[in-house]
């Protein structure tokens, strides 16, 4: 006779049942919204996520244009299913209904953050009460929904780095992961620049662009361990620059159209010059940026654990949800690639020259001919 296990804590069992009901409700929300917008879809585009392709379909072309302007275009092969299908549903007027408010019973600590993560990893969802915006991902059908009451409420920063949570959640269980960092490329090698906000990442990326190096991103990139060597892939066609008298905006970016993103400017690499944004490159080292007092910039080897502390927490706390996958991938990264602390002196151009020279004489790995 089969016997069911007796739960140790009946209240925990009841919470699990309630949690499962919330998961089912979110799946219904996703399914209903997608079904309801089928007759009014007016946008379809395909975009790159590493070596994968995801699609965006929307019922509001202006919202979709904003949300895809900084994504990298890709070709969708007819015989290959997309990695993810993102549906953007905007508007509250008929035939659409206003997205429901967060009403999930608190069955998990993450609900304090308006995050719902089902234990099986199938459904991940977040809710923004200020904008009445749901983001729901169903990994089993590889569908995601961004449902916002008013597309005019989309914040600029969401359009400069769109769908980052969806994309990160969708990569759970794969060899790819989104990490918080920038990457510069030269002589067919890339290095990943990491560190908290204010550590000099974007400034260094900008200085490297001015020095003739390429970039793979300045804030979020995709790292990929599916090949023999780690690779870094660009994720967004945008760079955010802080107007700073000490660091001139690179002339290669200065004349490109720009938009305001808080106190920063954002520029699309593709608007500035072809080839500025390198789509993918073999990753040779991890550099922990730190503003130092020494006059000249220098590179100092660091232990993997220090590098993990530099990359892991900012990435995990930025992207939220499915943290075990993120931390595991970052851990694999720091255990495999050499880690160096980039102690930044006072002159970003000098730091760029240091990196250029290091990449030209890269001591790690073969050149990717």
């Amino acid at each position: 006779m089969r016997t069911e296990p007796v739960p140790r804590d009946p209240s925990a069992a009841a919470a699990a049942v309630s949690h499962d009901r919330s998961t089912a409700w979110l799946l219904d929300v996703l399914a209903d919204a997608v079904a309801g917008m089928q007759t009014s879809l007016c946008w379809f585009s395909a975009h790159a996520l590493g070596d994968r392709v995801f699609t965006v379909a929307a019922n509001d072309a202006s919202a979709a244009a904003l949300l895809t302007r900084c994504l990298l275009p890709a070709n969708l092969q007819p015989a290959v299913a997309p990695h993810l299908r993102v549906f953007v549903c905007a508007g509250s007027a008929a035939p659409f209904v206003r997205p429901p408010a967060w009403n999930l019973p608190r069955t998990d600590l993450r609900h304090l953050e308006n995050l719902h993560l089902d234990p099986a990893g199938r459904v991940s969802a977040s809710y923004d009460p200020a904008r009445r915006c749901w983001m729901i991902l169903d990994l089993s059908t590889r569908r995601a929904l961004l449902w916002i009451a008013d597309a005019g409420d989309l914040p600029v920063w969401e359009t400069v780095a769109p769908f980052r949570q969806f994309l990160q959640w969708s990569l759970a269980g794969t060899a790819l992961s989104v990490v918080h960092g920038g990457a510069v490329v030269h002589a067919r090698h890339a290095v990943l620049l990491v560190g908290p906000s204010g550590s000099g990442k974007s400034t260094t990326v900008a200085a490297c662009l001015q020095a003739g190096l390429g970039a793979c991103g300045d804030d979020l990139v995709v790292v990929d361990r599916s090949a023999r060597d780690w690779r870094v892939h660009a994720l967004h066609d945008s760079i955010k620059l802080l107007p700073n008298p000490a660091v001139a905006i690179p002339s290669r970016l200065r004349d490109a159209p720009w938009g305001a993103c808080g106190d920063k400017r954002f520029v699309r690499y593709s608007d500035a010059a072809p080839g500025l944004l390198v789509r993918t490159a073999p990753l040779r080292a991890l550099l922990h940026c730190r503003v130092a007092k020494n006059p000249a910039s220098r590179l100092v080897p660091v232990a993997p654990a220090e590098m993990l502390k530099a990359i892991g927490p900012p990435t995990v706390f930025f992207l939220r949800g499915r943290e075990a996958h993120i931390l595991g991938e970052v851990s694999a990264l720091v255990r495999t690639l050499p880690g160096l602390r980039l102690e930044l002196g006072g002159d970003p151009a000098e730091a760029a020259a240091l990196l250029k020279n290091w990449l030209e004489n890269c001591p790690y790995g073969e050149r990717d001919a």
Binding site: R8, D128, P155, V156, A303, P304, V316, R320, E323, L327
Partner: protein, 148 residues
């Protein structure tokens, strides 16, 4: 087991990555991360099973020349304060069913328990949503009061 020496166990809610000489822990709910070094690495591994503090300290002191009993007890207290160690649940196996305490490093290194809270403010204000409307993460809204 004495009443004032309860069974303790590592907090399994934390994400952990173990290196040879250091363990990095993340508490994603509270926005904290931690670094364990020296004999604190041995403590973390020992409390992978529910055990009493004295049992662990006795075992480590018996195996490592020069082990500092007071330093180990202080480290355990610190790990409890940071919720890295929690009272074991009633369903954890009793001492008869537990595997032996894992081997410790040959040379005693003072335990180091470091807590980092530089990103905790962002968690406290809900970093997914409660951020500056124009800039986004990690800039907090201007009206938001300082955490301290």
């Amino acid at each position: 087991m004495m009443a004032d020496d309860p069974l303790l166990r590592i907090n399994t809610r934390l994400a952990a990555e173990e290196f040879e000489e250091e363990i990095v822990l993340l508490d994603v709910v509270r926005g904290l991360y931690f670094s364990l070094g020296g004999a604190a690495v041995d403590l973390w591994r020992a409390f992978g099973e529910a055990r009493a503090a004295l049992e662990v300290v006795d075992a480590l002191c018996a195996r490592q020349a020069g082990a500092d009993r007071a330093a180990l007890m202080n480290a355990i207290d610190g790990m409890r304060d940071h919720q890295l160690l929690l009272p074991a649940a009633s369903g954890d196996p009793d001492s008869g069913a537990r595997p032996p305490i894992p081997a410790a490093a040959g040379i005693f290194l003072p335990p180091v328990v470091e807590a980092f809270s530089d990103l905790a403010d962002l968690i406290a204000i809900d970093p997914v949503h409660e951020v500056d409307a124009a800039t986004g993460w990690p800039v907090r809204p201007a009206h938001f009061p300082d955490a301290d």
